[in-house]
């Protein structure tokens, strides 16, 4: 527990509780946080921060962005713990994953509205790379995660709307099914399928433009 929390707890006149056992279930820890145990929240944070960073890392490539999303998600989790229904509806990990995916979606929408993020053109290297990939027969064994691949993907995805980007990333990077995406986003399965169809078409258009 950090110093600020200790001081805040003491000021609020709350008794200092013993630290929660690390083998406690998520639901038990949520109950403890709701009862005022801040150390239980730290334990939840330590337990799930990697998972949330992993999700954010599929949408954002910069370290600070991932850190920001993880922070924002945990802050939302903290203030919404009262709404968490426990094992009856979904597990804690599914619940926080949904919050993180929504935080990523919000950030993509904000980024789209920002005037300082214009859609830039591809460099000659990127175009040549793309051209060679498109004319190569068969799938690549494993594309290397180079700066060129990242920049190229970022530029291509910047041409898509946030919803299209979400669906394509969840389908291709997270390997989720349409039903799983629907559950995560709170959409219908039909909407996910239609969105995926449109997103693929939009990406094809963006790729064709550079051929």
């Amino acid at each position: 527990m950090d110093k600020t929390t200790d001081t805040a707890d003491l000021a609020a006149g709350e008794p200092m509780s013993s630290p929660p056992a690390p083998d406690q279930s998520d639901d038990a820890l949520v109950g403890a946080v709701l009862a005022g145990d801040e150390a239980a929240f730290k334990l939840l944070f330590e337990r799930h921060r990697r998972r949330l960073a992993h999700i954010a890392g599929h949408f954002f490539r910069r370290r600070e962005q991932v850190e920001e999303i993880v922070q924002e998600s945990f802050a939302k989790v903290y203030f919404s713990l009262g709404d968490y229904k426990g094992a009856h509806e979904a597990s804690f990990i599914t619940w926080i994953s949904r919050i993180t995916v929504n935080a990523c979606y919000d950030e993509l929408r904000r980024a789209r509205r920002r005037p300082e993020s214009p859609i830039s053109d591809l460099t000659q290297d990127e175009i040549s790379w793309l051209d060679s990939r498109l004319h190569a027969e068969g799938p690549a064994a494993d594309l290397e995660n180079t700066a060129l691949v990242r920049d190229l993907t970022e530029k291509l995805l910047a041409r898509l709307g946030p919803e299209d980007r979400m669906v394509l990333t969840l389908l291709n990077a997270e390997d989720l099914s349409a039903a799983e995406i629907a559950r995560l986003m709170g959409w219908s399965v039909a909407k996910v399928k239609v969105r995926a169809h449109r997103a693929r078409a939009a990406l094809r258009r963006a790729l064709r433009k550079y051929l």
């Binding site: 990697r50 960073a53 490539r61 991932v66 850190e67 290397e144 990406l203 790729l207 051929l211």
Partner: protein, 155 residues
């Protein structure tokens, strides 16, 4: 001239070759790019390995909590300030409603009185008030003639 045509033809061929790339191949490259550009597990872990991340999160939560309590304080203060005028307005509304109600009930009684009064009035008044509709020019003329007739023996 020939060179110009050649260039145009090349451009057309180029455009044609672009459109001939099958959708499946474009989808495949798109998929590969998205998959390859995601952050690796190690990178993602490194992004949240800072020892300052949790204190920053606590500070953020504290700031948000303060903001929320300040917002609720503002609402409470507004309610407290508006309490007196609101009470006055509610009382005024009740009094006005009561007055309106009493006026309407008196109005019904007054209407009954009017009928009795009208019964004692001249024929012109009777025409105007009892019918409830505006009198025609014939009615007015008739009433005037009646009045003239009734006034005539007095003279």
């Amino acid at each position: 001239m020939l060179r110009k045509d050649r260039r145009k033809l090349d451009q057309q061929l180029d455009r044609l070759s672009r459109s001939l790339v099958p959708d499946e191949r474009l989808d495949r490259v798109g998929r590969e790019l998205i998959r390859a550009s995601r952050m690796s597990d190690q990178e993602a872990e490194a992004a949240v390995s800072s020892p300052f991340l949790y204190p920053r999160l606590r500070a953020r939560i504290a700031a948000e909590r303060e903001l929320q309590s300040r917002t609720s304080d503002i609402w409470l203060a507004l309610l407290r300030t508006a309490r007196r005028p609101l009470t006055g307005m509610v009382l005024t509304t009740i009094v006005a409603a009561l007055l309106l109600w009493s006026a309407s009930t008196n109005g019904i009684a007054a209407n009954n009185d009017d009928d009795a009064f009208i019964a004692r009035e001249t024929s012109l008044d009777r025409i105007v008030f009892t019918n409830g509709s505006s009198p025609t020019s014939d009615d007015v003329l008739g009433a005037l003639l009646d009045q003239t007739d009734s006034d005539a023996p007095k003279r």
